[in-house]
């Protein structure tokens, strides 16, 4: 039973409490770039979760045969091969979304989240916990992506998944789209707001001040 509780904890910890984006600062690049619409955000989330889980399982399986000195190169090659497969699948079956994501699918290779989890967890654990941890982190990442994508698409275009949810003023409705939501700065503001919200709910995550003003340093001495 204890073992099952462990696995459950590994799965649920990264959802909010150890969330890869808001706490571990992993995988931010793609989190911001692909959230202009919900469809791209969901595609990216699924691709990343698949790559992350598969690479964690593979690396965990060969962990005893992996020399420490070349492990980074081996890990990157495994991740890159999986990403190539995903990229080819997307190009074949979801050509339009694949074009919208442009190079960001290939950039899963250097997504710090994948390398961070394989390096920190999968390398020291058997395949099952490694897969569960990777899946949990993937889902935690997806939650943030989908929240951001939903907010940006809803307020930027009045749509969700391409369906008109809020009637636009141009078409006789009442909603004037905020085009700022589709531009780069709003992604930063929204993610900053999400981080603030999470850390207000969980105060133990708040960071200590980075610098002290000279006056207080002198006073402290």
């Amino acid at each position: 039973m204890a073992k099952r509780a462990d696995i459950l904890a590994t799965l649920t910890a990264p959802l909010i409490r150890q969330n890869p984006v808001t706490l571990q600062i992993l995988g931010i690049c793609s989190a911001l770039a692909v959230t202009t619409s919900l469809a791209t955000a969901v595609t990216m989330s699924v691709s990343l979760t698949v790559v992350l889980t598969l690479s964690a399982v593979i690396i965990s399986l060969i962990r005893r045969h992996l020399p420490d000195t070349i492990r980074l190169i081996v890990q990157i090659v495994i991740v890159a091969s999986l990403v190539i497969v995903i990229d080819q699948i997307l190009q074949a079956y979801l050509a339009e979304i694949s074009r919208a994501l442009s190079i960001y699918v290939s950039l899963i290779t250097t997504n710090c989240l994948v390398l961070g989890r394989t390096e920190a967890f999968a390398r020291h654990n058997p395949p099952l916990p490694a897969a569960v941890d990777a899946f949990g982190n993937g889902v935690g990442y997806s939650v943030i992506l989908i929240v951001l994508g939903g907010i940006r698409e809803l307020f930027g275009r009045g749509q969700l998944f391409g369906w008109q949810v809020l009637p636009l003023a141009d078409a006789g409705g009442w909603f004037t789209p905020l085009s700022l939501m589709l531009l780069a700065p709003s992604a930063f503001f929204l993610l900053g707001g999400v981080v603030w919200a999470v850390r207000s709910l969980l105060p133990e995550q708040a960071e200590a001040p980075e610098h002290m003003p000279p006056a207080t340093v002198r006073a402290a001495e």
């Binding site: 808001t22 600062i25 992993l26 995988g27 931010i28 690049c29 793609s30 911001l32 770039a33 980074l72 190169i73 990157i76 090659v77 890159a80 091969s81 990403v83 190539i84 990229d87 080819q88 442009s102 190079i103 290939s106 950039l107 290779t109 250097t110 997504n111 710090c112 390398l115 531009l183 780069a184 700065p185 709003s186 992604a187 930063f188 503001f189 993610l191 900053g192 707001g193 981080v195 603030w196 919200a197 999470v198 850390r199 207000s200 105060p203 995550q205 708040a206 960071e207 200590a208 001040p209 980075e210 610098h211 002290m212 003003p213």
Partner: protein
Amino acid sequence: MTELWTLFLSAAFVDNMPLTLFLGLCTFLALSKRPESAIGLGFAMIGVLGVTVPLNWLIYHGVLAPGAWAWAGRPELDLSYLSLIAFIGVIAATVQLLEMLLDRFFPTIHAAFGSFLPLLTVQCAILAGSLFMVDRSYTLAESAVFGVGSGLGFALAVAMLGAVRSRLAYADLPNGLRGLGIAFVLTGLMSLGFASFAQMAVSP
């Protein structure tokens, strides 16, 4: 010549890597806590991007591009799906080589920002530089200019953010916003500022 200059400016300002394309944000946020490390990272980025983008151009067009093996009687060979692995390998090797060269010939520079170099292997901005080079089919000269220009843009942005963050000591922030939260808000404000450079691209 003017085209290259335009490309340089647009790579550095209009398509600024961290602020408008969200590339390389992990290191951008992690190493901008103080200005000194931010400037070190900036110089490392200029160097690595300026070397790897033209190098990857040579490899892509010499080995991987469709039709690159026409001289050997195999014009139908298309290895471009391997470009991701090839680029990552080139970047890892370049970073390693650059670190060894700096250590050997310029120990002072190496001491100043040597510790950031290994990190750059897994920096998305650097891989993205090479992927954009293929995506937008640059020539060799253009890819070199693009590499240096986007490196410079990254360096500018990270140095500015580092300078602003060290001033946060005087700001009384809510607990939850401290650190990562305010860094995002600052980056957003800088990104708004850089958005005004978008006008620059169209003026002749």
